[in-house]
């Protein structure tokens, strides 16, 4: 029987399948952060259990960490007492169990889904979990990666396994070529607008097609990152030469003979010819335009040139109520265009779009321009490694000269736990992944978009179609 990529990884990780029980699935890599782990460690402590595989586990700090500049002592000051406790709890827990932890401001600290790939820990064919729904990001390498709850974090710490029912599969095929000014972010926003935020529930996505194959690894991560916004816990892309090139030479990548062995195995992973999926969606990359969201979930998205839909179009009452509520929250009218809508804040960052290629693109777009009067623009690198690389390339200077803030690494305004947040009523164009009510600060209003759209909007102070500006600018690298 021909198998899909998902089925190959799943089958290789089933430890046992007791009768009347879900499968016991082995976890190769467990990522941990400060917000969803403390109660799991407490659970282990209460039972007198030690972490089973501390060296298949890695911890970082990202959610509640400030991104404000370092003090004279070279340290990033944490002023929120609860955050101080949470960060210290993580360090204590990791030390107790022998789990490596990247503390705030240290060389390799960063957003959990940025550091796994950049360190070469994320590899094809692995199972990867984290108490964080955007663990789907790592699927870009052809790893089965998904978010879990805190009870399950305890399960993995204690046993390196999880009880899992086998999900269904969903092929998302994108063929063709993206137009200038259209990026991976627009592909995934279009997918979610198409199927809705519950459309992939119970499924694992596999993104296929020529448009996906031609994307860089970092662009693939942007796509897999937002699989959960389509309801799927995991999204996969088959590994290929692009994948191997990205991994080779990274700190945790296999070396020498191990490398050859690993690549030989990775080449066996792509879905077999004739393998079938439970569901399928086909999109044409040639016809995609820059996307933007108008509502309060990532499925409420449209082409940037379209107008806000009318709740009256829904016959279903609960759908109508949801859109009514969303438009009231966003203070938008049915039929209104978003182009030209005022913007207060622009956020470039998050595990969706804070990697070096995102920052290069943003810098190219803003170079020679200034952030519009009255607009606050934050650029938050995904990790300390990304930050150092960007500074080595001088990107930080481009941002600062344009009037943007250049920050330390972390989740920042994606989740607004650390003081980086919108004020009530403010509008943001954000490169992050969620536009839920209050997500970027209580009363704040989010338009999700690509880094190109975000920067174009920062320059004009209003929502702007990046294609109008990309045309004038000579890009050294193709938007990816």
């Amino acid at each position: 029987m021909p198998k899909t990529l998902f089925e190959k990884i799943w089958d290789a990780h089933v430890v046992s399948h007791p009768p009347n029980s879900p499968a016991v699935l082995y976890v190769d890599l467990h990522l941990v952060h400060e917000v969803t782990s403390p109660q799991a460690f407490t659970e282990l402590r209460q039972r007198g259990i030690k972490a089973r595989r501390p060296l298949q586990t890695i911890a970082t700090m990202d959610h509640s960490t400030p991104t404000t500049p370092r003090g004279a002592d070279g340290l990033i000051p944490v002023t929120d007492a609860m955050a101080v406790t949470q960060l210290k709890t993580l360090v204590d827990n990791c030390h107790e169990h022998g789990i490596p932890v990247f503390e705030l401001g240290t060389e390799k600290q960063g957003i959990v889904h940025v550091i796994g790939p950049e360190l070469g820990l994320t590899q094809p064919g692995m199972t990867i979990v984290c108490g964080d729904s955007h663990t789907s990001t790592h699927g870009a390498f052809g790893a089965l990666a998904f978010g879990i709850g805190t009870s399950e974090v305890a399960h993995v710490l204690a046993t390196q396994t999880l009880l899992q029912n086998k999900p269904l599969t969903y092929e998302i095929r994108v063929d063709g070529q993206l137009q200038d000014g259209v990026t991976a972010k627009d592909i995934i926003l279009a997918v979610i607008a198409n199927i809705g935020i519950g459309g992939g529930t119970g499924h694992v996505f596999e993104y296929t097609g020529s448009a996906i194959r031609s994307l860089s690894m970092e662009a693939r991560m942007t796509i897999c990152n937002m699989s959960i916004e389509g309801g799927a816990r995991a999204g996969l892309i088959a590994p290929d030469e692009t994948t191997f090139d990205y991994i080779q030479g990274r700190p945790h990548a296999p070396q020498g003979a191990d490398w050859d062995k690993a690549v030989a195995y990775w080449r066996t992973l792509p879905s077999d010819a004739g393998a079938t999926y439970d569901k399928q969606l086909i999109l044409d990359a040639n016809t995609l335009a820059p996307m933007i969201t108008y509502g309060t979930n990532p499925g409420m998205g449209m082409c940037i040139t379209e107008c806000v839909p009318d709740p009256k179009q829904y016959s279903d009452n609960s759908q109508k109520m949801a859109l009514d509520k969303a438009l009231a929250y966003m203070d938008l009218q049915p039929g209104q265009p978003l182009l030209g809508h005022k913007v207060d804040v622009v956020f470039v960052g998050s595990c969706t779009n804070s990697r070096i290629s995102d920052l290069r693109l943003a810098a190219q777009m803003i170079k020679g321009h200034r952030v519009a009067e009255g607009v606050r623009m934050l650029v938050v690198p995904g990790s300390q490694t990304v930050k150092r690389q960007a500074e080595a390339e001088g990107l930080h200077k481009v941002f600062v000269e344009a009037g943007a803030e250049w920050r330390e690494a972390g989740c920042s305004m994606c989740i607004a736990m650390n003081g980086d947040q919108l004020q009530p009523g403010q509008y943001a164009v954000s490169t992050s992944n969620r536009n839920f009510e209050g997500r970027q600060g209580r009363g704040g209003r989010t338009f999700l978009a690509s880094p190109l759209t975000a920067v174009a909007s920062a320059i004009n102070g209003v929502v702007t179609d990046p294609r109008t500006m990309v045309a004038e600018r000579a890009f050294e690298v193709a938007p990816a």
């Binding site: 060296l55 490596p100 820990l121 709850g149 046993t159 396994t161 609960s318 509520k325």
Partner: protein
């Protein structure tokens, strides 16, 4: 975990679709390191609106939330079921739940009950007409019973059902798999080591 017994409770209607976990418990409440202090944060931003259902005196005694389609989407935070439980909810009824929320709820004895659209509407009508009316929930027979005797069956995977009914703790269950896990590890060497190479 305590075995889950049959119970009766009245309803709180919240028929909005795609209610995400950021609404159930906003991120600023996630700086806690325990599970018990989350009642205050439960739907806290929506509760600022005096018209919101949780502020409606008619529904003060409700312990079963009847929510719109795809409840609990978004973040994987288990703080969502912890907050709902701390606030006093024993079950959530919807036509559809997001995967991670459903898993998290089952692990905390907060029943995620999926019913068809017709039953869902009947429950919303009941809550509207008779806020004090109680429905009866029996996990063993997988049924929700309305005061007029109307019964609706709800699906649940057999393993979760057994765990909830018998108070079986999943971590304990997994620990008993240790011999199988050891055998697996012998034949499947670790793919990466997270210590600095």
């Amino acid at each position: 975990m305590e075995p889950l017994k049959p119970f009766s409770a009245s309803l709180v209607p919240l028929p909005i679709e795609n209610i995400d976990t950021d609404q159930i418990i906003p991120a600023r409440y996630l700086k806690v390191t325990d599970k018990n202090s989350l009642a205050e944060g439960c739907f806290t931003d929506w509760r600022q609106d005096p018209e919101f259902v949780l502020n409606n005196p008619r529904y003060q005694n409700g312990h079963i939330l009847v929510a719109g389609h795809n409840f609990g989407c978004g973040s994987s935070r288990e703080h969502a079921p912890w907050a709902l439980k701390a606030y006093g909810f024993q079950a959530v009824i919807s036509t559809y739940f997001a995967d991670i929320f459903r898993n998290n709820s089952l692990k905390n004895g907060l029943l995620p009950i999926v019913v068809d659209a017709e039953t869902h509407q009947a429950l919303l009508d009941l809550a509207e007409e008779a806020p004090e009316a109680e429905v009866h929930i029996d996990l063993a027979s997988q049924t929700v019973t309305l005061p007029n005797g109307q019964k609706a069956f709800f699906p649940i995977d057999p393993f979760s059902k057994t765990c909830l009914l018998e108070g079986i703790d999943e971590l304990g269950y997994l620990m008993k798999q240790t011999p199988e896990i050891e055998a697996f590890e012998v034949s499947h060497p670790a793919r990466v080591q997270t210590l600095q190479p």
